[in-house]
């Protein structure tokens, strides 16, 4: 029942942001299908270290698909060939014996490479800082049940809020657009009475910041939605556009 495969991994190696990068190919034998993709890279790194070479640097943390830290572009897909998962949830049973697997970092002007497969995603934090919140201080807020919220709105807000900020949408987009990321936060808060008050202003501030940081425009290719590990829908983008127009019209 257990699958064991031999593979070649072509990994992008790049010393620093300004350094010239390139692919290196490594052979790995006897990889069990129950091994996760990142555990496969652990095995590769263990091998490199034992040979006196520097390990491949890749971002990872929770290894259960929620922190959004892992960010690999595998065989042309952010987070690899399977749907609705992050790289850390991908298992080697999805590959075949003899496969060559290509691993690259996110490619986007707004996410410069730091080293090998690690990129700098601070641009996402900056967009949230521009307005991705409800302006309330700690304390002095009403009772949690003071404002009833329809279950439909709450559930829809939750779906938007499930974004993990990994950046797969940007990496998947031919324009390098961050519209799915921005719209998920704008939608979550616009759907809830607590966030409605600042909805239009929030949309405007976040879109302006996104443009300023060098993300591209949305041309509705839906690649982001297809590759999103959390299944965040592009209907969020439509909602963002409405909020943004509202803000513009009232200018």
């Amino acid at each position: 029942m257990e699958k064991v495969i031999n593979i070649t991994v072509k990994v992008w190696r790049q010393k620093g942001p300004k350094a010239k990068g390139g692919f290196e190919a490594y052979k790995l034998a006897g990889i069990s299908g129950d091994t996760s993709f990142l555990e496969m890279l652990d095995i590769l790194n263990e091998k490199l270290i034992s040979e006196g070479q520097e390990p491949v640097v890749f971002d990872n943390d929770c290894r259960e698909g929620i922190c959004g830290m892992c960010s690999l572009y595998i065989n042309g897909h952010p987070h690899g060939p399977d749907n609705l998962i992050t790289t850390c949830q991908l298992h080697m049973r999805h590959f075949n014996d003899g496969d060559t697997i290509t691993v690259e970092p996110w490619r986007s002007a707004a996410f410069p490479v730091i080293r090998d497969l690690t990129v700098d995603r601070q641009a996402f934090d900056k967009i949230i800082q521009a307005g991705g919140y409800v302006s309330v201080n700690t304390g002095g807020v009403p009772d949690a049940n003071a404002i009833p919220i329809s279950k439909i709105d709450a559930d829809e807000a939750m779906d938007s809020a499930s974004c993990i900020g990994c950046g797969a949408c940007v990496a998947a987009c031919k324009n390098g657009s961050a519209m799915l990321f921005v719209s998920a936060k704008v939608s979550q808060l616009a759907l809830l009475p607590q966030g409605k008050v600042e909805a239009a202003a929030r949309a405007k501030a976040m879109v302006l910041k996104m443009d300023e940081l060098g993300f591209g425009n949305c041309t509705n290719t839906r690649a982001c939605e297809l590759e999103c590990p959390k299944g965040v829908s592009i209907s969020n983008i439509a909602r963002l556009n409405r909020q943004f127009l509202k803000a513009k019209l009232s200018d």
Binding site: R121, Y133, A144, L189
Partner: protein
């Protein structure tokens, strides 16, 4: 320092926190601007504290090792957060939440702290809703609740199976707002490497820029540690790969006390281990125990056939299944506290009834729930968890029972703090999982999120002012002071030493060796002999580490192996403290189970006459055994009882 002053306010239990707030010293708005506070960590405790302090007007420097504050491991908490709202009208109250928490912790927490926690729990829910946290709701528009282990009421608020994520994103939003305002400055991909003490007070930190490898100095009027727990000492745990106990160990070596290190929680519902290259264990939320029923085969031959792959669980008839939690604990059934559920699973597997090819797993079965509630309802409640399970194991839990086994999850022990959350180093505070906290010897489900946010939003922003009020005339410190230079030099020497070893073994291989020792000898069931063996083996691992570790690359550049090495060096020390503490505590309580001390039914047997204290370990210097200081836990308001989840 023979005695510890916990600074618990006088008065009746229910009035202590109000009395404290009424009489504590505050800092006026103009002076707040002149005071700097360093907060290390951006999880629920760190982010909520940094945001709240920023809102109050303090100048905050907030550090995290990840690329963004939103990635702190609080994000992975699934099930929910407790609060005493009594929205379900099922008899809940602040007192009942307090009582359940004290009892769940096996009477090894401070009464006053736990009462305060229960008291502010309601504020947390209000705060999170105001921030736009999309908690689950009923059709009428009001908040929904579910029940959790160790409680007979439904007091747990949740956001699908992603409650930690939503609460952390709420705190992260509040933090981001303060960054935008300029009151908080973020330092991402920075790792604290030491605390700087000037004239006996915490006055700053030394941190390594993880991108450049540069060692940098930061000064402040106070330092707050919110760096989480030390569960990764076991290598395999439910913690994130980068979670570590190093900040706690740094302040321990500078005079803070490490309390109750042996109190580590083993979570009963994790996906079982599959192989030697496994890097982490994935938790399946405890909320699954609301509707899932835990069982193993009644007959040993059935268990053996399952292990050999000759029989499927669905082929075992109802009468041949042993729902052992329901059998042993009729009153709480599958919802007994985590320590009880974990030990029961281990007991069944050790007795030969375990499943999976390893024999180290039990079933968590939803077939009855699907029949009773319908597939749709089960999917709505647990859909994302089932999906996660299927992605990892390639098995469909709607059709065949899940397999689970206990794994290290949370550490109740941590840095000793007084009622104000201050450590024994003046000006150095510890919050969230990093402190020895309010969970005693065992934490109830959905209480970690509550404690992290209580500390960060509603406790520390008050209590820190009592300390800072007499610091208002202290000018900002220069990082050129000799104390900073000395701390930085010590770090550079340590790094140089690590890099110079150039041995044969990778950091991970040594970390795995440490983990095996911990799980084998300091794990779920401990004995005097196993702990003594651990102490010997840990000294050997330490020696092996410091003579045979191999760290490729350069120290003054991005170097993930060096980062891991510094953490593993500290994990070895934490492991030693855990074993030492376990050996000292000749009783069983909560997550600390000494096999010599159990009731005839196999439950934890406490010794309140001799061990009703928090064991606080004081660093005595490299290579020396730490000194034990006891904080006696006097119970003024409730009577300690044998924990009983049977009737």
């Amino acid at each position: 320092m023979a005695t510890l002053e916990a600074k618990i306010p006088k008065g009746p239990l229910a009035e202590k926190w109000t009395n404290y707030k009424d009489h504590q010293k505050l800092v006026n708005p103009a002076n707040k601007r002149r005071l700097d506070v360093i907060v290390v960590g951006t999880g629920l405790a760190g982010a909520s504290a940094a945001a709240s302090l920023g809102e109050l007007g303090f100048n905050v420097l907030n550090f995290c090792i990840q690329d963004s504050p939103r990635r702190a491991h609080s994000i992975a908490a699934q099930g929910g957060i407790n609060a005493a709202k009594n929205y379900q009208n099922d008899g809940d109250s602040v007192y009942r939440l307090f009582y359940d928490t004290i009892k769940g912790g096996d009477y090894r927490a401070r009464e006053a702290n736990v009462y305060r926690l229960a008291e502010v729990s309601n504020n947390i829910i209000d705060q999170c809703v105001a921030q736009g946290v999309p908690f689950a709701r009923e059709y009428g528009g009001l908040l929904d609740n579910r029940s959790f282990g160790g409680a007979q009421v439904s007091r747990t608020f949740y956001a699908k199976g992603q409650t930690g994520q939503q609460l952390l994103l709420g705190a992260y939003s509040a933090l981001s707002r303060q960054v935008n305002k300029g009151s908080v400055k973020l330092y991402t991909r920075y790792e604290m490497l030491d605390v700087v003490i000037i004239d006996g007070r915490a006055r700053g930190i030394i941190a390594r820029n993880l991108v450049t490898g540069k060692i940098e100095r930061f000064a402040a009027h106070a330092v707050v540690i919110g760096s989480g727990g030390y569960g990764n000492t076991f290598f395999l745990s439910t913690n994130a790969m980068n979670s570590n106990g190093s900040a706690a160990m740094q302040i321990y070596r500078k005079g803070a006390l490490f309390a109750n290190p042996a109190f580590a929680q083993i979570h009963p519902t994790c996906i079982p281990v599959h192989g030697e290259f496994q890097s982490k264990l994935t938790l399946m939320s405890e909320s699954l125990r609301n509707d899932g029923r835990i069982w193993v085969p009644k007959k040993k031959e059935d268990a053996e056939a399952i292990r050999a792959g000759k029989l499927k669980p669905t082929q075992i008839p109802e009468e041949d299944r042993d729902y052992y939690l329901e059998r042993r604990y009729p009153a709480f059934g599958n919802l007994v506290p985590r320590d009880v559920a974990s030990r029961a699973a281990k007991e069944r597997c050790d007795a030969g009834f375990g499943v999976n090819n390893t024999g180290l797993a039990v079933y968590l079965d939803f077939s009855e729930a699907i029949n009773r509630l319908g597939l749709k309802t089960v999917e709505a409640r647990y859909g994302n968890l089932f999906q996660m399970y299927e992605k990892i194991t390639a098995q469909n839990p709607y059709e065949t029972p899940m397999m689970i086994y206990p794994a290290i999850h949370y550490t109740m022990g941590g840095i000793w703090v007084d009622y104000e959350l201050m450590t024994t180093i003046p000006g150095c505070f510890a919050i969230g999982e990093a402190n020895f906290s309010d969970h005693g010897a065992n934490r109830l489900g959905a209480s970690a999120l509550m404690q992290g946010l209580a500390d960060g939003y509603f406790v520390l922003p008050y209590t820190i002012q009592n300390y800072l009020s007499d610091q208002i005339s202290v000018p900002r410190f220069s990082t050129d002071l000799p104390e900073f230079a000395e701390a930085e030099n010590a770090i550079n020497e340590k790094i140089a030493k690590l890099m110079s070893i150039k041995g044969q073994r990778s950091v991970d291989s040594l970390h795995k060796e440490l983990g095996h020792i911990m799980w084998e000898y300091v794990g779920m069931g401990r004995t005097k002999e196993s702990l003594e063996t651990a102490l010997v083996k840990l000294k050997e691992v330490k020696k092996e580490f410091w003579s045979n570790v191999r760290i490729p690359g350069e120290p003054n550049a991005l170097n993930t192996e060096l980062e891991k090495a510094i953490r593993v060096a500290d994990f070895i020390e934490v492991g030693y403290l855990m074993a030492l503490d376990g050996l000292n505590r000749n009783e069983s309580c909560g997550g600390h189970f000494r096999e010599e001390y159990q009731t005839p039914e196999g439950e934890a047997l406490r010794d309140d006459d001799n061990y009703a204290y928090a064991s606080c370990w004081k660093y005595a210097g490299e290579g020396k055994e730490p000194e034990l200081i006891k904080e006696k836990l006097d119970y003024e308001f409730i009577v300690r009882q044998q924990r009983n989840y049977k009737s």
